[in-house]
């Protein structure tokens, strides 16, 4: 058991210590810099794997907890711990971070500074996923946002259209930082209001949750705070119409940062909603979520249609991310154990899939110096391995069975069918749109006759080391997708109680609906029981 006490700090601080170590390494030793980065993210990955395999599903709740006072005068604690949701997202982040470090071997300019910022970013995101104190949470949240600014501004690339700059990287990074900070501030207002109105003198999430369960805020207060939190965190989710920072942010960022950004950073928003907004403000959630369910349909369909019109590979994947995060938000909005489990599973599946997609596009861009779809073609001749991974990413994205995305989208649909059938139908339509643009990308990039300008210049990932990041990501998608049981059980141990607690608070409507159905119920139930016995 002793390892459990320092498992989370190990995962969290390994990259931070790595970043500190890097400051001591001379500039002219880029290989050493890279090795240190691989080592520390590898430690985090091993820790995350240990955490997920040793999480006690039967016990549930927060595990591997660490609790130290930080600023006791203000009731601020350094409180870490993960539940089933957190542990899955830890793994997602550890996978994306580790493979991102491997992919970053192609960075040649100011390597040391790059990895320092990159490892800081990784630390921040780990911190968010394991924080159980609002202050701690917010601290790490900002820590994750800030390094994006230099990472995109210095190592990024302009988004071009027909050869001229459409969005410069400075514009993209400025917009991203301001947008996310603004969202964080809106959320902060909500958090402070929560702190003030509760009068609890603590930022500790489990404590707050217990207190609010006994003495909830008034319905009016909850209805005021919930949208602040939802929009504030929804900006990073990204919720329509606050999404426009994300596709161009993805597009301008260097590949490894895009991987983390689309793979993990966007999940911070939906994670924060699940971790903070839902359990602390159940009545606010019940009041506002029907609106959310309709808005996120815009995410899904609109994002898909905009992706159809793009020709820059990264913008296509960027808009597809904002489309797919719509399913996550839809799963949250449906608020059933199935749909919420599906939503978290989709956070995992989509994270890995997008990381894979950006890793592939990064490889393409490094070698061909273009991501403009009409300029590409026939690359399967030169880079069959990458092309194979590209087909896999496209299929995972279109929700092919066997990948985690299929299971999670199915669960969201099944979970939400009773509440929002129209929205679910629109969501299913989104899957069709996804396959249209994804296949267009695959065909336009990899298929067709070999282009002479690429012959001899474009090289496949040949060595096992070059293939490693792709193989890790593909395997993660396939394993969780074809045998989802263990991960779903893990998630259910947390989502089930969460939804139960929220719906317990649902005012009036719940008892009514039970009464409406109850007269018909016994007869049918017994009838169907008889028949299942017959089978």
């Amino acid at each position: 058991m002793s390892i459990n006490a320092w498992l989370l700090p190990l995962i969290l601080f390994a990259p931070a210590v790595g970043a500190l170590l890097l400051t001591l390494i001379p500039e002219n030793r880029p290989d050493l810099v890279r090795r240190v980065a691989v080592l520390v993210t590898g430690i985090s990955l091993a820790g995350a794997l240990h955490a997920i395999f040793h999480y006690q599903t039967a016990a549930g709740g927060f595990q591997y907890e660490v609790l130290k006072p930080w600023l006791p005068q203000l009731g601020i604690q350094f409180h870490l711990g993960v539940d089933g949701i957190g542990v899955v997202l830890l793994l997602l982040h550890a996978l994306c971070g580790f493979t991102g470090v491997l992919i970053s071997y192609s960075i040649k300019q100011r390597v040391k500074e790059y990895y320092i910022f990159y490892l800081t970013l990784i630390t921040g995101v780990f911190g968010v996923f394991m924080s159980l104190d609002l202050f701690c949470f917010y601290f790490f949240y900002e820590m994750a946002v800030i390094p994006m600014y230099p990472l995109i501004g210095i190592w990024g690339s302009d988004v071009k259209e027909e050869g001229r700059v459409k969005y410069s990287k400075q514009y993209a990074t400025m917009k991203l930082t301001i947008y996310l900070t603004l969202g964080a501030v809106v959320a902060l207002v909500g958090l402070l209001a929560l702190y003030q109105w509760t009068g609890a003198q603590t930022f500790d999430i489990p404590t707050l949750q217990a207190m609010l369960a006994d003495e909830p805020l008034s319905t009016a207060q909850q209805r005021w705070i919930f949208p602040l939190l939802f929009i504030g965190f929804g900006v990073i989710a990204p919720m329509w119409p606050f999404h426009s920072w994300s596709p161009m942010g993805h597009a301008a960022a260097p590949s490894a940062v895009s991987m983390l950004h689309a793979g993990v950073l966007m999940k911070l928003g939906s994670y924060a909603i699940i971790r903070i907004a839902l359990p602390l403000l159940p009545q606010g959630a019940v009041y506002w979520l029907p609106w959310v369910a309709s808005i996120v349909v815009m995410n899904i369909l609109y994002g898909g249609f905009v992706a159809l019109a793009q020709k820059d590979l990264k913008l296509i994947v960027g808009y597809s991310s904002s489309s797919h995060m719509g399913y996550v938000l839809l799963g949250i909005a449906c608020l059933t154990p199935l749909s919420l489990t599906g939503a978290v599973m989709l956070m995992f599946g989509h994270g890995i899939m997008t990381a894979l997609a950006f890793a592939i596009i990064g490889q393409l861009y490094d070698q061909t110096h273009t991501r403009w779809l009409p300029d590409l073609g026939g690359l399967a001749h030169q880079i069959p391995f990458i092309a194979g991974c590209g087909v896999i990413a496209a299929m995972a994205s279109s929700g092919l069975p066997g990948f985690a995305n299929f299971v999670s989208e199915l669960l969201v649909f099944m979970g939400g069918w009773d509440k929002y059938p129209v929205q679910i139908v629109c969501g299913a339509l989104g899957v069709v749109i996804t396959s249209v643009y994804m296949l267009r990308v695959v065909r336009g990039t990899f298929f067709g006759p070999s282009k002479p300008e690429f012959e001899g210049h474009v090289h496949d990932a040949k060595t096992p080391f070059e293939k490693l990041p792709f193989i890790i990501l593909v395997l993660a998608l396939l394993i969780t997708g074809s045998w989802p049981g263990p991960m779903l059980r893990l998630l259910e141990s947390s989502t089930g109680p969460l939804v139960e607690r929220i719906l317990m608070n649902e005012p009036n409507t719940a008892p009514d609906s039970i009464q409406v159905h109850s007269p018909a119920k016994p007869g049918h139930a017994s009838a169907s029981n008889e028949h299942s016995e017959m089978n």
């Binding site: 917009k175 947008y179 119409p241 999404h243 426009s244 609109y302 249609f305 905009v306 159809l308 019109a309 793009q310 154990p337 199935l338 489990t341 026939g378 399967a380 001749h381 299929m395 279109s398 092919l400 069975p401 066997g402 299929f406 199915l410 649909f413 099944m414 069918w417 009773d418 299913a428 339509l429 899957v431 069709v432 396959s435 249209v436 296949l439 267009r440 065909r443 990899f446 298929f447 067709g448 006759p449 070999s450 989802p484 049981g485 263990p486 779903l488 059980r489 259910e492 089930g496 159905h517 018909a520 119920k521 049918h524 139930a525 009838a527 169907s528 028949h531 299942s532 017959m534 089978n535």
Partner: protein, 635 residues
């Protein structure tokens, strides 16, 4: 973790040892191709002979296991239906099993898949011998075998859907096998997307069916056997209105409309001929496109309850049968003629379902799988030998490719329903059904039989007889073997009692129906003979006389054009471009406007910063004086 349970559903007592063995065999049928596919894609991607051996060996293993189960079941040792399954997803009130359901229906379909499949796999060894990417081809072929078996042996809707999507993926990969050809890549995309559109309806149907499957929200099921027992009760008690069920049925029917290429989503199948010919034989003739029909048979208990949906199915099937046969008249590509013929025959099968005859549909599916696979493999042999697909550039093949021509002739005769061959019996069943239930449909079906004979005759007389001089060389034995095997099957499949096996006692032979259809067939063949062999009628004058329908047919009723127009003009230029405009100008524009506002405000305030110290002092003093006067005024 993995809870495996096997249950003998029927009352028949089965020896427990045999049951355990049968369970293992059932799993082996399903999983061997998967294991082989994984092995090929992981370790054999650069080892061509390993890939070939693994793929053929894997499917042959499945075939042996199927035969074992088939004989055990037909001897009565093994009680069917029996089911083995594991729980794939178990979550709250949701439980999705993944397993193998063995009954007479799935056994016959598994035999078709593994039997004909093995032949085609073997044929591929010869056909793809010189292909650089043969390993990928065989890997995908094995994966396809697993996927289609997932459908066939499925115990529930979700598993069926999983297989459904996976066959679509394999089809996409195999159609686009020669991806360097833009037309092949485009055809793959088209097939996948058209199927996706259909599956959109299909999955909604599954969700809806699942949601009405129980009145208690934690007791819902997608399991076939449970639904089969439960739905009639629910319908009877009024918990599920028949109207709802009809809509669900229509949505579910969307799946087969896509997968079995029914009108108006048939457009992908002719293009799918871009793939290697064995793929056309296996996937786009014998098995995958038949999966839609199989699904309708598998779940016929559901459609039985909703006559209005059955009617829709009937008319869609009949329309497909007739319209596709007409498309065969004007086609010049050897494989595409066969593709239209496949469409037409699939229409027959779906029509049979609509007439309430799943046994007839399944019967025709089986015989069609034999002779259509034979025809495609024959076409493949021709293409392999001559590198030519245009029937007008072929001709005289009976001389240069004797064995291929012979087997092709057998296949053609089976297709048109030559008395005594398998197609004759199975088509007869459908025609009898049609005459009983719906006279106009019967007439249409008989007409279609004549049209089938016409385009098949045209194909035969032009490409094989003729005075042409296609320089072909006969194919190697590894390709001829499967041809003979399938030719044999095409002859005998009508005599082995498939309808009886599927549980229909054979009715008396209907001489009138048989004679009428044979007359139609004879007429069709004769006209094509007169036109294309004897040249008694100048084809040119006929074309001129039929100019309007001719252009209509040559352009495939303009359906492809309509879809292309929709995609290019509506979807891309209006919806997608509109959304992109909105994004760029409204959403990004609004954000930029906020930024511009802040900037403008800053620019305005900057004016006060003159940099002249005296101005500041002046303002300062004026302020102080103002304060003093205020102070004095208050005093």
């Amino acid at each position: 973790m993995v809870e495996a349970h096997s249950a003998a559903a029927a009352v028949g007592a089965t020896d427990p040892a045999l049951l355990a063995l049968a369970g293992k065999a059932a799993w082996a049928i399903l999983l061997t191709p998967l294991i082989c596919a994984v092995a090929i894609l992981l370790v054999g991607i650069h080892r061509k002979s390993f890939a070939m051996a693994a793929a053929v060996g894997g499917l042959a293993t499945s075939l042996i296991c199927t035969l074992f189960l088939f004989f055990q079941a037909s001897q009565g040792h093994l009680a069917v239906p029996f089911e083995v399954s594991v729980t794939w997803i178990s979550l709250g009130g949701l439980s999705i099993p993944f397993g193998v359901l063995i009954d007479n229906l799935s056994l016959i379909m598994t035999l078709v898949v593994t039997g004909i499949g093995s032949g085609i796999f073997l044929y591929s060894v010869g056909y793809m011998h010189d292909d650089a990417a043969a390993s990928r081809y065989f890997g995908m072929l094995s994966l396809f075998a697993f996927s289609i078996l997932t459908i066939v042996l499925s115990t529930n809707w979700i598993q069926l859907f999983i297989g459904w999507e996976l066959v679509g993926f394999c089809s996409y990969m195999l159609i686009g096998h020669w991806y360097a050809k833009p037309s092949a890549a485009a055809a793959g995309n088209k097939a996948f997307i058209v199927n996706r559109v259909a599956d959109f309806g299909f999955i909604i149907g599954i969700l809806w069916l699942w949601s009405v499957s129980s009145t208690a929200s934690d007791d819902r099921t997608v399991h076939f056997a449970t639904l089969m027992a439960r739905l009639p009760v629910l319908v009877e008690s009024g918990a599920v209105p028949v109207a709802t069920l009809s809509v669900i049925g229509l949505l579910l029917f969307c799946g087969p409309v896509g997968k079995s290429a029914q009108f108006p989503l048939h457009v992908w199948l002719p293009d799918a001929m871009e793939g290697p010919t064995p793929v056309s034989a296996l996937i786009h003739a014998a098995t995958m496109v038949a999966a839609g029909v199989y699904m309708l048979c598998r779940t016929f208990w559901l459609f039985e309850m909703i006559p209005s949906t059955l009617n829709v199915i009937l008319y869609v099937g009949a329309a497909t049968a007739f319209l596709a046969a007409a498309l065969g008249f004007a086609e010049n590509d050897l494989k595409r003629i066969l593709a239209f013929s496949t469409l037409s025959q699939l229409g027959y099968m779906v029509m049979a379902i609509g007439l309430g005859g799943p046994v007839a549909a399944m019967y025709h599916l089986t015989t069609h799988a034999c002779f259509k696979a034979l025809l495609f493999l024959g076409a493949g042999s021709v293409i392999h030998g001559t590198h030519e697909q245009n029937i007008w550039k072929l001709g005289g093949l009976t001389r240069s490719m004797r064995w291929t021509s012979l087997t092709f002739l057998i296949g053609s005769l089976a297709l048109i329903g030559f008395p005594g061959l398998s197609g004759f019996f199975s088509k007869d069943e459908i025609l009898v059904l049609a005459r009983e239930h719906n006279l106009p449909i019967y007439l249409l079906a008989t007409l279609t039989a004549g049209m089938t004979a016409f385009y098949t005759g045209r194909l035969w007389f032009v490409a094989f007889m003729g005075k042409g001089h296609a320089h072909g060389h006969e194919s190697p034995p590894v390709m001829l073997g499967p041809l003979f095997f399938l030719a044999g099957l095409s002859v005998v499949a009508g005599y082995i009692g498939i309808p009886a096996w599927l549980g229909e006692h054979h009715e008396a032979f209907h001489w009138d129906v048989a004679l009428t259809s044979t007359a139609a067939v004879a007429a069709g063949v004769t006209i094509s003979w007169l036109l294309y062999s004897k040249r008694a009628i100048a084809a040119g004058s006929l074309v001129r006389a039929l100019a309007l329908p001719q252009s209509f047919v040559e352009n495939r009723y303009y359906i492809d054009d309509i879809y292309t127009w929709y995609v290019q003009n509506i979807q891309q230029k209006i919806i997608a471009a509109g959304c992109a405009w909105f994004e760029q100008n409204i959403i990004i524009g609004a954000v930029n406007a906020v930024a511009a506002l802040a900037q403008g405000l800053g620019r305005l305030l900057r004016l006060f910063q003159t940099g002249v110290v005296q101005t500041y002092v002046l303002v300062f003093v004026a302020g102080v004086l103002w304060l003093i006067t205020r102070y004095l005024a208050v005093r």
